[in-house]
């Protein structure tokens, strides 16, 4: 599951899942939801993403920033994600389609993921994982 949380100027995104990887995947869905309804994005084309960072928090910000870069440079939106994390390394596949301005009605473009309210860790007594950050729009 994903949700948005309050930031005065911008918007916070939070992903939760049974594993660290699924929290990252859900966070990515939350990122797309800042722009458009993720259900409106057809997962037709796939791209690969790889990033690394010295800790999980920076890795989550890097993951979001990698998606922001791909959205911006390819003019695409993504709705399905598969993440693998090994140590400090993330390898992922994202599925999506080119932006269709009439159908997606993109509300806003995301400039970057910030380190504000950035956290990654287990919640619910270790039963699930949560990853969150504020993104600048």
């Amino acid at each position: 599951m994903w949700e948005h949380f309050h930031h005065e100027a911008d918007i916070g995104i939070r992903g939760r899942g049974a594993t660290l990887e699924s929290a990252f995947e859900q966070g990515a869905v939350g990122l797309t939801a800042v722009i458009t309804n993720p259900d409106s994005v057809k997962p037709g084309q796939q791209i690969r993403i790889r990033c690394s960072a010295p800790d999980l928090e920076l890795l989550f910000a890097d993951w979001l920033n990698a998606l922001i870069f791909e959205m911006s440079s390819r003019r695409m939106l993504f709705s399905r994600f598969q993440v693998e994390i090994q140590g400090n390394e993330l390898i992922a596949v994202a599925w999506g389609e080119p932006v269709d301005r009439a159908r997606h009605q993109p509300a806003v473009e995301v400039k970057g993921a910030t380190y504000t309210a950035l956290s990654v860790g287990p919640v619910d007594g270790g039963r699930s994982w949560q990853a969150q950050a504020v993104v600048d729009v």
Partner: protein, 476 residues
Amino acid sequence: MISVKPVRRSETEWEIPPSGNMQVPVIIYATERLINDMDRKVFEQATNVAALPGIVKASYAMPDAHWGYGFPIGGVAAFDADRGGVVSAGGVGFDISCGVRTLITGIDRQALEPLKERLADELFHTIPAGLGRTGDIRLNTKEMKAMLAGGAQWAVAQGYGRHEDLQRIESEGCMEDAVPSAVSDRAKLRQRDEMGTLGSGNHYLEVQEVQELFDQEVGETFGIAPGDVLVSIHCGSRGLGHQIGTEFLKKMVLSAGQHGIRLPDRELACAPIDSNIGQAYLGAMRAGINCALANRQILTHLARRAFSRVFPEADLRLLYDVSHNTCKVEEHLVEGKPRRLYVHRKGATRAFGPGHRDLPEDLKATGQPVLIGGSMGTSSYILTGTRESEERSFGSACHGAGRAMSRNAAKRQWQGRQVIDALAKRGILIRSPSLRGVAEEAPGAYKEVSEVVDAADHAGLSRKVARLGPVVCIKG
């Protein structure tokens, strides 16, 4: 960090005296109501900034300060390279040199009224706005380099706008010492087809009417009178600036330890001005400023084209172009001595007063125009810089109202169509590719800017010249 309540120093000046790691005090300019409404995070963030190495005089917050990233939005801080001062990617922000420029059209409201629908359609058709909309300009590697080095001067040389526009842009339209090679290939790739695009979110092109003139004399020098139609453009350095901000934020976080900098908040990521990374950032950030200046210059050219199709007699002259998110090297008097400082303005406007050597001759008597943007249904303001602001805030003033409500809350409260219809009843035309975008940017989601402007005026940071009301707004 302990949360401290600011102490009142005057009607519009508040101080958090130095304690703990703070090198200097925090000074906030605000009315009592604005300070009571201010998010406590602003005090915490401004306090954190006051603890950064080499900070000079004070960590300032403008009347519109709100919770930002590391630095508050509406934060001003100056650093001295000779005293271990730092430069901070977070202190500039992701949208490097996001700013506003205002053009005088020579048309008045009466002439506009019967043709405003046509003008709105023409502008919407001509100005690429919103996510997924590309510009018509493609730059090859050599041209990209020239644009990043030359800014608006480059744009004018390519035929976008007029030579006299440059006099009315900070640094005459070109940030010196930009280093295009310090900008990554990824940042350049993001910019590939974004030249001359407006972007989205709170960015806009607005046709406005001068509804109130507070200072006749300055109004005359600026060339504005009640009923005049103006055009304001609010946007920044697009994907290129965002990518520079993203990359250097990470680099600065990772290198902070090496430079002996302890960060209470990662978002405060910074590097000594004299370090390799600090210098690389300054070079890239200046190239980002040039990108924003070139972008606003191209948009000006497009706005002129759209106007000429509806009003062949219109002559769009640039009043001024201000940048909100920058770090600039400026000379300021500190304890009576001139010092070369790296002034960060994050969501704050440079507001140089009368006589300042960086102003063009025809503005030396009035001070620099300070352009304060509104949001669709709300007023915008034109202010002028003051000499006092040079003593009080390194020549800086507020930049806008800031949000009162989150995007999600706004989306829940309003439908885009409903916002457009309600504004149409007030005679304001909105053109946007995204109804959801309009709902999230609804005027009611923003704070009232008048109180912020009054506070800035009262605190002596700038003086009110005119209030503008929106007539047509092109939203991304």
